[in-house]
Amino acid sequence: MTTDALPGARPAPAGRAPAGATGAGLLPAGAPLLELRAINKSFGSVRALTDIDLVITAGEVTALVGDNGAGKSTLIKAIAGISPPDSGEMLWRGKPVHVSHPKDASALGIATVYQDLALCDNLDIVQNLYLGRERLHLRTLDETTMELGAKRALADLSVVTVRSIRQLVASLSGGQRQAVAVAKAVMGNAELVILDEPTAALGVSQTRQVLDLIKRLADKGIAVIVISHNLRDVFEVANRIAVLYLGRLAGVAPAAEFDTQTAVEMITTGTRGARPDTKVAADGEKDA
């Protein structure tokens, strides 16, 4: 029956390459993809970011955590070109780059999925995925090519829960909408995907879908930055955790070196606590 339902491990169909030809030219996992050096940003007299040094590596999930006003959003806006930093250096694949506009970021391969997802409810999944980059045949929309490409893009991410690729986005669940938004971002050959609060306002099973999706992105060799308030989610997906505190990088370390207690202390005080051996179960902390 529903041949449109997406088989998870279906081999990509042959034919013209869709926009989502990810996997070509990605850096090997663990190689530094983006290096931030001494990034500073002020809004008037307020220093929003102070000397941020951060390395984002391919194939890893970096969680950006911090309290409200710690500078998480300012940092990703700087990376995404929405509000460029005042000073500092950005190295992309080891070369200095200037990202002063969102177009510069997407040209490099940086894709950002904001909380509002920016999907059109009245369009179907294929139409949303190709919005702004429609494939044409004889100056009319080439629906066949786009549908095949969209199928492939979702299969690439193993998004198996949508039943029809031609259903309206309005009829999707929160997790499915997030998946479509991520697929849309990745289809532009993204090497770095920034997700802003991807699990906020999602139920348990929806959150699970999105976390699995994030892991798959990293498995494919894409670098992922996740902003989240939910430490349980962070510990589940992140390879590394970067803690921001009042505009400074309070610490960055592999996720294994953190536990909930130390993470909470760093988020709230900016310093690692005096009792690093106190382990607390990693669940139970939410919206720290």
């Binding site: 997406l6 702004g132 029809s164 009829s171």
Partner: protein, 428 residues
């Protein structure tokens, strides 16, 4: 959690009857089930509206047996055409979530320009006059579109100013250039008059109808075949056949009705010119909206303007051009209207015209909130409005009652729209 949220494993295990909303199905039975799911989730399509139209027709026929006579039905087509085409004009802006209140008088100005240019003593060729009228209408749409997009003014206010101002312009043109005839410009050109009052010969009517159905059938069929070849699911072949047969039957019925002699004394029959003209506009604009990048962007902006902007779509250009297309189409409606009346005069009521146009689009199923709708909706809605006016005219219902009944039909359509929107968000 809604039914549509189910992992593949479960989906594959579902029995064939449970096709989800929007999922294509391979058999007619599955399709019917899928359609019912869609109706429940708020995407009811046009069938309920068509049902309403059939109901109206049955009621009018029961109350007055003259309703379903060939002469009256042909009348109904020519009366409905201006509403339908004006409804097409309104669909462009409604899809963006905007509204255009000025198109009634834009139509009036287009008709005035065309008729005055084609009038004696120095008649311009009819086609040049039509082009000038259409160009004037498009220009008015362009100016309003610029005000709305460049200055960020609400379309309601800008086009309300248009409604008032363009009535003034139309009256000025008529009073200054046709003062001797009391502000009325009559049609002196045979071709302009024939748009509504001329008929295809019986043979040509059959040939045109057969060609249209054959072309449309070929198009649907080849589209399905292309999808199947690409390994994508397509509409069940039985349903496509059913659609083609339905189109054929509708075409035959229309031609049979129009080709019946409706002359009083002298033989008089044939499909009015305005029927194929309306169909050409319908097909052209439907193609633009559903098969081109431009149309896709119109829907995207109506659905989520911010998402469209982030996708790199030039919002101002699409919005402005939609107002231009709206004006252009309104111009065509105005010329058709003048052809039906045989003249254009200071008594043209653009205010009522535009409200009927909005009502036609909305009754047909186009949403006032943007992003949802089709040209076809204006066709069906326009026919419904014309049928109400025509039927109640036959019954001798007073004008006040006609207005009130039209209002009730419009309200019913908007209620259905609102309820279906509620249904569609509930599935999220």
């Amino acid at each position: 959690m809604s039914k549509t949220v189910r992992p593949l494993e479960t989906a594959a295990a579902l029995d064939a009857g449970e096709v989800p909303a929007g999922a294509p199905a391979e058999t007619l039975g599955q399709y019917a089930h899928g359609w019912w799911t869609q109706v429940r989730s708020g995407q009811s399509g046009i069938l309920p509206v068509l049902g309403g139209l059939v109901l109206l027709v049955v009621i009018f026929q029961l109350l007055n047996s003259n309703f379903l006579t060939p002469a009256n039905l042909t009348n109904l087509m020519t009366q409905g055409a201006p509403y339908v085409i004006l409804g097409f004009a309104e669909v462009f802006v409604l899809l963006l979530g905007e509204i255009d209140l000025s198109i009634g008088y834009v139509a009036g100005i287009a008709a005035t320009v065309t008729l005055q240019l084609a009038a004696y003593p120095n008649p311009t060729p009819w086609w040049l006059a039509v082009l000038a009228g259409l160009a004037a209408a498009a220009a008015l749409g362009f100016v309003q579109g610029l005000l709305i997009t460049k200055l960020g003014l609400p379309s309601f206010v800008v086009t309300l100013a248009g409604l008032l101002g363009f009535e003034g312009v139309m009256l000025y043109l008529l009073n200054n250039n046709a003062a001797s005839s009391g502000g009325t410009v009559s049609i002196t050109n045979n071709i302009l008059s024939d748009i509504v009052n001329g008929n295809l010969s019986n043979i040509v009517g059959w040939v045109v109808m057969a060609a249209c159905v054959a072309l449309a059938g070929l198009f649907f069929w080849s589209r399905d075949q292309r999808r199947r070849r690409a390994g994508l699911s397509a509409t069940p072949a039985g349903l496509t056949l059913l659609k083609i047969v339905a189109m054929g039957v509708a075409g035959i019925v229309i031609v049979v009705i129009c080709n019946t002699d409706r002359g009083r004394g002298a033989p008089f029959s044939g499909v009015p010119w305005v029927v194929p003209i309306t169909l050409v506009i319908l097909v052209g604009w439907t193609f633009l909206l559903s098969r081109t990048r431009y149309g896709r962007y119109v829907y995207a902006i109506g659905g989520n303007a911010e998402a469209a902007r982030r996708a790199g779509i030039n919002l101002a250009r699409i919005r402005t051009s939609a107002f231009v297309l709206s004006g252009l189409t309104a111009g065509a409606a105005g010329i058709v209207y003048a052809s039906e009346l045989g003249s254009v005069s200071t008594s043209v009521d653009g205010g009522t015209l535009v409200l009927d146009a909005v009502a036609a689009a909305v009754i047909g199923g186009t949403s006032l909130f943007g992003g949802r709708g089709k040209m076809l909706h204006a066709l069906i809605g326009g026919v419904i409005i014309a049928a109400i006016a025509n039927g109640m005219g036959l019954l001798g219902v007073s004008a006040p009652a006609q207005y009130m009944i039209t209002a009730l039909v419009l309200l019913a359509a908007v209620v259905v729209d609102a309820l279906s929107r509620r249904g569609s968000t509930a599935t999220r």
